[in-house]
Symmetry: C2
DNA sequence: CTTGAAAGCGTTGCAGG
DNA sequence: CCTGCAACGCTTTCAAG
């Protein structure tokens, strides 16, 4: 991992389909050298995968929210975890330090679906004692 | 946007470098038809960009945190916004409804850098009245 | 939407430096 | 790490159905 690798990663973040020959022009390395570096970045796990970034609005998910969850006892974690992983509208789930145990980031079509998610899914999970939902009004930055 | 487009997007999310010919085998469409659909998904903005997903741990960012920020008055928004957009360690910045005005998601090497970010950057921004930091212990799901 | 053919481009592998 | 060459695969574009 040197400066060149970092530059390659930066370019691939901007355009995951940038070809080795295009990259080679920008980092002043030969095509085979660039291809080799990308292969190594993949093998080492530094690059988890090539993917595509979608426009959430255009996919009909107009509502973004964060839900803080308090779990009663540690024995409920497994069931909670399973349920959350199976729920597509939950984009993120973090175990937190602090007053709440989990923080969820969810994307949904609207408030109707959010209400459903909270009352029909999350609050139905065994051990969920309390939730606190924060609605996103607008997003000025969102990266990985 | 029909079922086939959705399937193509699903495949590209898993592997952004999947070729049209590979996709064509899975969705039972000809190669030119698949290529045309991908081009339209890009043109329409549904696909924002092809990108790469990196392993955050391997990039040395071992600490993930959420910081809630309260801003004193609306006139400070512009300066706040500029500062935040220029700060690489801030992955996300959302304008929120509720007791806090903004929610930041930040990734850093460790607590030292977090302390610096909070006291040297965020709290130095004009108008920032209060912050509340929540540390992530572990992440069980993180998508876009 | 399909197939088929032709042309162009990028990659991959192997040489030798 | 480099260059050069050759082989292969994929994309793109076109015509025709």
């Amino acid at each position: 991992m040197d400066r060149v690798d970092e530059e390659i990663l930066r370019l691939l973040k901007q355009n995951g389909r940038m070809t080795s020959s295009e990259i080679s022009k920008r980092v002043h390395l030969s095509v085979p050298a660039v291809a080799e570096r990308i292969r190594k970045l993949e093998d080492s796990g530094m690059i988890e995968r090539f993917t595509v970034r979608l426009n959430r609005e255009q996919t009909g998910l107009h509502l973004l929210a964060f839900i803080m969850v308090e779990l009663e006892r540690p024995e409920h974690i497994v069931g909670f975890r399973e349920r959350i992983l199976a729920t597509d509208s939950v984009l993120e789930c973090h175990h937190m330090a602090g007053s709440y145990d989990y923080l969820l980031k969810v994307a949904l079509p609207g408030t109707r679906e959010l209400e459903q998610l909270i009352s029909q899914t999350i609050k139905q999970i065994e051990g969920v004692a309390k939730t606190n939902t924060m609605i996103v009004l607008s997003t000025m930055k969102e990266e990985m």
